[in-house]
């Protein structure tokens, strides 16, 4: 008795009890599709989040000042210059953030300002679509120039290239106003990468735009401009450092902190905190992995329930077909043949369920990804899991009914009505 014959018998038997077979498969379908959907969305979501975080600070270490400390302990421009001269340091920039209002000839709105020195471009992985970044001279002279995302330009001016236009920015902290000239357009979202559509989506979905009742954009300026508005001589709560080599990140971060402690005479106070983004990425990665595994595990329970359903139906099938089994044995079917026949049937039942579940799961994941605007990642291993899992369930839950069928004495089976 070959395997083709077996499969034919199994398919035939599944088809002749179609309704029952479909109901039985339902458990497997639900189980497999939810596991697949969760794993796929989980993987895609994880990659998305990790990439976002990584773009924000790949190869970047932050040194920040504990805010309870006096402003004399804050990081000065001279500190930054010194740190920049150290070995393995590629770029250093203050990381300033502030919020204020904008005014152009025709519109008014809000702005989220990121400020730094000329190294900010590399540190934030900003990509220019038009124009240029501010240069050393502009930075040193606190020239009133700015860069704006193309999306922000659309909102304020109704077009994407607004180089040479002017924006009046009034800082919310200090009330100072500066007349900024746009010198460059950047492609970015809030996280610092990707397309500006995502920023628009984010703002829209977070209600940022609605709650402000106005146009919200991001502006990038030399930190000296903000310093001038605030009347400060350039002291910063946070700097970002990029190392020449990712493996030197911790070293560079600690070196910078030591320099700061030395120069501010505050060693042992714990004023400065070194934050390596890679550590966070690892942590985040682990948390998401654990979450995904956990949720997938929970939905795998439905697979077990589905498997028990298959076993139940196979037992019914064995009982119903006792006579058939008796006839087959009387005609010369071996124990193994009968075992294999019923096992094939339950595996096929589960495999069909698995394939349908897989398709539904991927469709579900694609739908979720579409509405949440995250990419999905389809791994070969996911397919292997779906197929492997459902056939394993078929075998595991099919073996008992199949053995029961196979071990029946032909005479007992024939006598049963």
């Amino acid at each position: 008795m070959n395997i083709k014959e077996n499969i034919r018998i199994a398919v035939f038997s599944i088809r002749s009890n179609l309704m029952r077979s479909v109901l039985t498969m339902l458990g497997i379908i639900i189980g497999v599709s939810s596991v697949i959907a969760i794993i796929t969305v989980g993987n895609g979501g994880r990659d998305y989040i990790i990439n976002q975080v990584r773009d924000m600070g790949q190869n970047v270490v932050s040194v920040s000042v504990d805010t309870t400390h006096d402003s004399s302990e804050w990081i000065t421009r001279d500190d930054i210059e010194l740190i920049k001269k150290q070995e393995n340091v590629a770029y250093v920039s203050p990381q300033g953030m502030s919020i204020g209002s904008t005014q152009t000839a025709t519109t008014s709105g809000m702005a989220f300002v990121i400020s730094g020195n000329t190294d900010l471009q590399q540190l934030s992985a900003l990509s220019l679509s038009q124009g240029r970044f501010f240069n050393e001279d502009e930075y040193n002279s606190a020239a009133p120039v700015c860069l704006i995302p193309t999306m922000g330009a659309q909102m304020l001016f109704g077009r994407s290239d607004v180089r040479g236009e002017y924006i009046d920015y009034t800082d919310m902290n200090n009330g100072g106003t500066v007349h900024l000239r746009v010198i460059g357009m950047v492609e970015m979202d809030l996280m610092g990468s990707g397309s500006s559509d995502q920023m628009a989506d984010f703002m829209e979905s977070s209600g940022l735009m609605g709650s402000m009742g106005t146009n919200m954009t991001m502006l990038i300026l030399p930190s000296t401009v903000i310093d001038q508005l605030a009347g400060s001589d350039g002291r910063y709560e946070m700097i970002n450092i990029m190392a020449t080599d990712e493996s030197k990140l911790d070293e560079v971060g600690n070196l910078a902190a030591n320099i700061l402690y030395n120069r501010h005479n505050n060693a042992g106070t714990g004023a400065y905190t070194v934050t390596n983004m890679a550590t966070y990425i690892d942590l985040l990665d682990n948390i998401i992995k654990i979450l995904t595994t956990f949720i997938a595990g929970v939905s795998a329970i439905s697979l077990v329930v589905g498997g028990i359903g298959v076993m139940n139906i196979m037992l019914v099938s064995v009982t119903e077909r006792t006579r058939e089994i008796g006839i087959r044995k009387a005609l010369g079917a071996r124990t193994g043949t009968i075992l294999f026949q019923f096992l094939t049937e339950s595996v096929i039942l589960c495999l069909i369920g698995g394939v349908i579940g897989f398709i539904l799961g991927v469709a579900g994941a694609a739908a979720v990804a579409y509405f949440m605007n995250i990419p999905i990642e389809m791994k070969l291993s996911t397919i292997a899991i779906a197929v492997g899992f459902s056939s394993a369930i078929g075998i595991f839950f099919g073996i008992y009914p199949a053995r029961r069928a196979a071990n029946m004495l032909p005479i007992d089976a024939l006598r049963r009505e």
Binding site: R323, K329, A330, A333, R334, P410
Partner: protein, 227 residues
């Protein structure tokens, strides 16, 4: 050497106080090419004897030689193989598989013999046409009359060309016309040289055989051979 040779066979249910001796020391031998009727009332043990002879059931004690081989203590799979090769069964209730066509039913023993599809199909078609069912090969049992079902079952029994045909009340569920057809086919098989063993409670049917073995309370009480 007899084809079937059983010695002192007992089949005892519920051994102990309420034991039932379905077979109570049966010794019997049947030669190649015989047409034997085993006759008895219901409960006489004739069905048990048939199951024993057909290797569908195991005896409590005794020895069974089939074609000179001791088959008393074989494994399940060995018994399946012998049934497949040596014995064609015809049951009172036909015992066709309802989900399969007549053709597929007839092919079953050939499948279990590991025969190739083409050969299987050829032999099954041949067997079906010999019982006059060639036009019904694609029908399911439910689409056939009782007589046709029994003829399909006979086709199944003979398709693999086993030396022994074991028929358990083959006419029991049939009208007299269909019963006659079945008996005619059995005679033909006998004339071809097969050993036909017929179990029945009907004296008239039994009288058609060359040899009549009467069983009562699990014992052979009469064994008449006729020319």
């Amino acid at each position: 050497m007899p084809l079937i040779d059983i010695h002192d066979v007992y089949k005892i249910y519920n051994p102990g106080e309420n034991e039932v001796r379905a077979l109570d020391g049966v010794t019997l031998s049947i030669d190649h090419g015989e047409f034997v009727a085993i006759i008895g009332h219901s409960g006489s043990g004739k069905s048990t004897l048939m199951n024993m002879l057909g290797l569908l059931d195991e005896c409590t004690s005794g020895r069974y030689y089939l074609d000179g081989h001791n088959v008393s203590h074989l494994s399940d799979d060995e018994l399946s193989e012998i049934r497949n090769k040596q014995i064609g069964f015809i049951f009172q209730g036909f015992n066709l598989i309802s989900s399969l066509t007549a053709q597929a039913n007839v092919e079953l023993p050939l499948i279990y013999r590991g025969m190739k599809r083409e050969e299987r199909s050829r032999l099954a078609t041949e067997a079906l046409s010999r019982v006059g069912l060639e036009k019904r090969a694609g029908h399911r049992p439910a689409q056939l009359s009782g007589g046709q079902q029994q003829r399909a079952a006979i086709a199944r029994a003979v398709a693999a060309r086993p030396p022994i045909i074991l028929a358990d009340e083959p006419t029991g569920n049939l009208d007299s016309k269909s019963g006659e057809d079945v008996m005619r086919i059995l005679h033909e098989l006998h004339e071809e040289g097969r050993t036909v063993i017929l179990i029945t409670h009907d004296n008239e049917i039994a009288d058609e055989a060359q040899r009549v073995i009467r069983i009562h309370d699990g014992r052979i009480v009469e064994d008449i051979k006729r020319g």
